[in-house]
Amino acid sequence: MEINFASQLDYFWVLAPEVVLSIFALVILMVDVFQRGETQEPARLSIAWLTAIGLLAAAAANTWLLTLQDAAPAGPIAIDGFRVFTNYLFLGAALLFLPLSWRYLTDERMRHGELFVLLLLATVGMMFFAGTRDLMLIFLGLELMSVAVYVMTGLNRRDRRSAEAALKYFLLGAFSSAFFLFGIALVYGGTGSVNLAVIHEVVGVDGAGANLLVNAGMALLAVGFAFKVAAIPFHMWTPDAYEGAPAPVTAFMAAAVKAAAFAAFLRVFLTGFPGLYETWGLIMFWLALATMIGANLMALPQDSVKRMLAYSSIAHAGYLLVALTAASVLGVAAFLYYLLAYTLMTMGAFAVVYMVAHRHELRLGLSEYSGLGWRAPLVGITMTVFLLSLAGVPPTGGFWGKFAILRAIIERGGIELAVVLVLTSLVSYYYYLRVAWYMWFREAHAGASPIPVSRGVSAVLVASAAAVVLIGIFPAWFLGMAEAGAAALMQAPMMSGIAGP
């Protein structure tokens, strides 16, 4: 079917996955509230299943998007491989989140059915954030996603850490949204449009049409995005928010929210401002450099594994920024592939953190992992896979992701970034493999409690570990898919010149 946004019905077809998810969110809210009424009784398992069905239905609708033809390249909603790819990513992360959160709610005896509604709405927000070509829609998606995730962060409101994390995340998130919105206003003032395709046309391939307003607006947009993807020096909220939030929510934040912010980051800068690459390529260069070096050094002394993984997620933002600096089809393909691997291994690693920490999340320290591999082989083996992939050891997805990013940046001539990426990855081996060393080569404490793993969580662990290995053994197929998505995004003529000073 051909879509040209001439009739309002076109919007429904193009937004099929979002519409499906929104309807499911409203239905689940009603089912839950009519089951529970005003009582404190826990939500039923049927709510979680309904959420899973909603996510699968949205995935089916997302597949159907591939049959649509985009007849209006300046339409407000993108129909390209990039959007379909990232949509799958968000839906997959939400699906992995379900069993973890169910386990968490059961452990803490606070089964709020609202969590699943918030999950679906956050996913809708991510899809809008990453899949639209209109800065206002992008902002609406950002807010829908953020507001839902703020509430999810404060899910366990009786826990001081969770409440503190939610407040910090909310205040700094609102602060960064203001930057973002001001950037949109300036870009609109400078170009007369909020549509990325039109902005590109006004700015021109060589950036000749850009004035001071556009440049200032672009810089403010970069600040807003850098906050959301937690790039140094805009990362201050990340360790506290990630450590304080319930571990399943942290997994979702670190994987899906960051993926959405990065996807939108890429779309805005590569399709809206390719003509100004000379300017923003330099910003990305320094952001990537600071993020890779700073985060990896700060992760070294962490004793809490959850906090270490929070810093590690900042470090991975640095690697992804390198792919953004490359700003080529190869770079975007590497970015998408890395995002896939990153989502899987981050979800998995935080799931293990929750399994070890267990109720009230008291056991976060490194010493709790002593002898874990022998006490709970399934958790130990899958965690080892996640750690190896995070560090970038072949044959895992993390290795091929870094390889693809290196290839892209070297092809663009950014040797400095490539060298720093390799060196900081070597540093990261220490703090990742230290956890693995504790798991396999340290005696367990005398009173170490068993790790009870439910079936749902085992399924999450096994599925994400298997997927991490699978995309590592057959990288070509996934890279091919990513390249198709990248090529669709990069149809606009690209600029010349390389990154870095």
């Binding site: 309002q8 809210l29 009603m30 509230v33 005003e38």
Partner: protein
């Protein structure tokens, strides 16, 4: 193009100037004889009880949030109602979807006891 904004600028300057003149002159010219009664905060003629910096029950916030939601509903619905004929069925369905979403939220709050005052 910018020239057409000059009347607005003049209006802005005039209103600012007027406000300044009124404030400054009433400070300079008016007789000031303060007494404790005159300096106490005015609460509709009732003697003030304690400070205003108190904790409010969360119920007030619930009502306030609900009010904002339905306040915004009016903000959206009145422009739609005014131009309903031009917008046609597309506008009608868009407004209906908006109302359905708000109604679901209201039902949720009602069923969860958000409207109960005790």
């Amino acid at each position: 193009m910018l020239r057409s904004y000059i009347p607005i600028l003049i209006l802005l300057a005039l209103s600012l100037g007027m406000a300044l003149v009124i404030i400054v002159f009433s400070q300079l010219v008016s007789p000031l004889r303060p007494t404790p009664v005159k300096e106490s905060p005015y609460e509709s003629g009732i003697l003030p009880l304690g400070t205003a910096h108190e904790r409010f029950s969360v119920k007030f916030y619930m009502v306030a949030i609900l009010f904002i939601v339905f306040d915004l509903e009016t903000v959206f619905l009145i422009p739609w109602a005014v131009s309903m004929r031009e917008l046609g069925w597309g506008g009608f369905f868009a407004a209906s979807i908006f109302l359905v979403v708000l109604t679901v939220g209201l039902i949720y709050e009602w069923k969860r006891g958000g409207l109960r005052w005790e």
